[in-house]
């Protein structure tokens, strides 16, 4: 996700439901997260506001459950199954995504779309 300074951006909030994939003994989601209130927000390459300590998606495994569900790199995760993710430490965030007794996670994510992209999505909330 590259931001062209000066170009308008649209923020889209959507609910994404990811079904965990079982790999051996583990349930994986297929993406990586970064951020947290205990992390240095200045190093977040995806955030627009460099003091934002939220949880961002830093990588999405190709063909993984997250990609299939529509999660994109650079999305900010706001909620996971009703748990707030805007004011959590990194480890708390990881724990909330990797609960062993849940095989579906419903995320509320905010994505920024550059209007220069040909695929402009209008705002919608499920």
């Amino acid at each position: 996700m590259s931001f062209i300074p000066g170009q308008p951006v649209t923020a889209v909030v959507q609910r994404i439901e990811i079904r965990k994939l079982r790999q051996g003994e583990h349930l994986i989601l297929g993406f990586s997260i970064g951020g947290g209130i205990d992390q240095d927000p200045g190093q977040n390459p995806f955030s627009e506001d460099k003091s934002d300590k939220g949880i961002y998606v830093t990588r999405v495994t190709p063909e993984g459950p997250a990609e299939v569900a529509g999660l994109m790199m650079g999305d900010k995760v706001m909620q996971v199954n009703g748990w707030d993710m805007t004011m959590v430490t990194h480890d708390q965030a990881r724990k909330r995504l990797t609960k062993k007794n849940e095989d579906v996670v419903r995320l509320l994510v905010a994505s920024l779309l550059c209007n220069a992209s040909p695929f402009v999505q209008t705002e919608f909330a499920i």
Binding site: F31, S32, I33, D40, R59, G82
Partner: protein
Amino acid sequence: MPMDRYADMEDKLRILEDLNMMYIRQIALSLQDSDIQKKIDHEIRMRDGACKLLAACSQRDQALEAAKSLLTCNTRIMAYMSELQRMKEAQVMQRVARRSDGTRSSDAGPMDDRLPCKGKVAISDLRIPLMWKDTEYFKNKGELHRCAVFCLLQVGGEIHDTDMVMVDRTLTDICFDNTIVFSEASPGFELRVELYSCCSEEDYSAGSAPRKLASKLSSSLGRSAGKKLRVAMDPGACSPTSNAGAATLLLPGPAVAGPKYHLLAHTSLSLSHVQDSFRTHDLSISGNEECSYWVPLYGSVCCRLAAQPHCMTQQMMSGCLKVKQLGGDPPSWTNVYGVLKGTNLFCYHRQEDMEANVEPAFTIAINKETRIRASEKDPHSKAQSICISNQYGGEEVTHTLSADSREETHRWMEAFWQQFCDMSQWKQCCDDLMKIELPSPRKPALVTSKQGSLYHEIVIDTSDDISTVTDILTRRMQELELRSQLGTSPPWMSLFEESPGGPRTPRLARHSPRSPHRLPHSPLSSLRCPWPGLLSSDASLTSDSDSPCSTSPCSRHRGWAEPLSLSSPRFRPRTLSLDAKLSTLRGRGYGGVLQCSCQPPSSSSLAPIPAQCVPQATLSCSSSTSSNSSSEGSHSPSSLDGTPFSRPSSARRSLRNLRAKLDPRNWLQSQV
């Protein structure tokens, strides 16, 4: 003098309570409802038990649990009593109405208003976020201000309580894992959620009340004396003068010495809050910061409230039907066995198919958009037929059904009307069946004693620095063995009293740093000795081991004991967290460490690590931290890189996370 007044008050209270009980029993008898009576009796017995337990227990946790049961029992008793009173009032009103009417109002009249079916309501995953001041998070000194909290959930007369949770500033949310199911709830239910809390630090004795009085008061709840009074008094003579205050007189017992729970917050949930996902609701908070039982609540509660009306889970109607085939003239009819359940009318070829769980021949939807009407009499048959119309896509599809007789048709129509009534009352619960998970058998809760310092959470893993930690471990094991030996009869101690003196003691004194630890191994035949050489050399010492040590000269005792006591404190500072690790190691049956300290330790340390293969986790985590460290020049420990193990255990991961977290210049990424 004050004791006399207390005694008088006690007696009066007891008498009033017994009067109440008699009144309650009268009401119950007159209503011919022994069910509530039994429930009340049961709760009173539970309450007595809880009071006795409270008076007898010494441990704080037990006292808190007993106080919680006491509160629950009291609430239940109040609920049953108010229900009883309501029933009594209803009966009285009915009687009055009947008398004024003059005619006996029959209850078999045609009911114009239907009652919707009842359903199961389940609340689960209760979570109450907390809002500690940020200064609280970073306070490392001082005691942890802890509160015990639990929730009381009430629907009508059914009251359930959750487990108790200890809350302190290390928690960000209060989570109750219980799933509470209320089995018979009407669509107009009101689920009252109350959060009670109690400070778990103060002294429990009720202020200045003397111990004797406290025990006297708590024992007065036992009703043996009351029963005597009851027998003595004439049961018919009691008057309902205490009616008005009946509910309040049966107080939650007189002051019982012990922890008291206070209402901290409450909210009411109803059908509009039911949804198949998590929702947040507002809490009304009572209490403020000055109270001892205060816990800073964020002001909302998050939970999953699901409802399963019976019309969705049970068969509401079943029977044989004839379905007209669409199209074709003359119309032909197919015999089916129809089952009305949920939002569908399942039609099976035969009844046996339904019992065998075979797929139905076809299914007709019965939902909010369906229209059902009874059509005019078919000229061919006597019975009316029922037309069910649905919109499938843009088309309207009508099925025509006919029952065998007029009564059957009437019954089916009744069933359909009832279904519509239920669906209109239960609203969103009838769109789809909501899942209610029954609470699984509870695992014993892991009790972790938080000692307030992060240091105690650090687990020293053998993988990090194998050789030195193993050394510590082995030396610690020796010392533990030594200490256990000291407790029992130390056979080797006698050696030194009995020894001829000169040659042995100087030898031991020379090796004093190590020999105190080596010796205990020789008399122990059960432990596999790691130093075979030692066994042979000390074999001569063992022969004298059975002589008693009672006659030993004190000087030698002390002289011998000293190096031991000196050595133990030398090791103690290192073993606080090591203790924790050792106990977990022992618990896991990690005997390998004990036995093969001479062998390469890596084999033993690898044994309990489950072989899991998600290599991405370690690699991405370590690579990100190492890459950050290399770019930023920070001091991430090199042991994180290229660990040969696959997915690390949670302890190791937490240690790694801790280390990475401690470096503020890292921007951690985790694979999920």
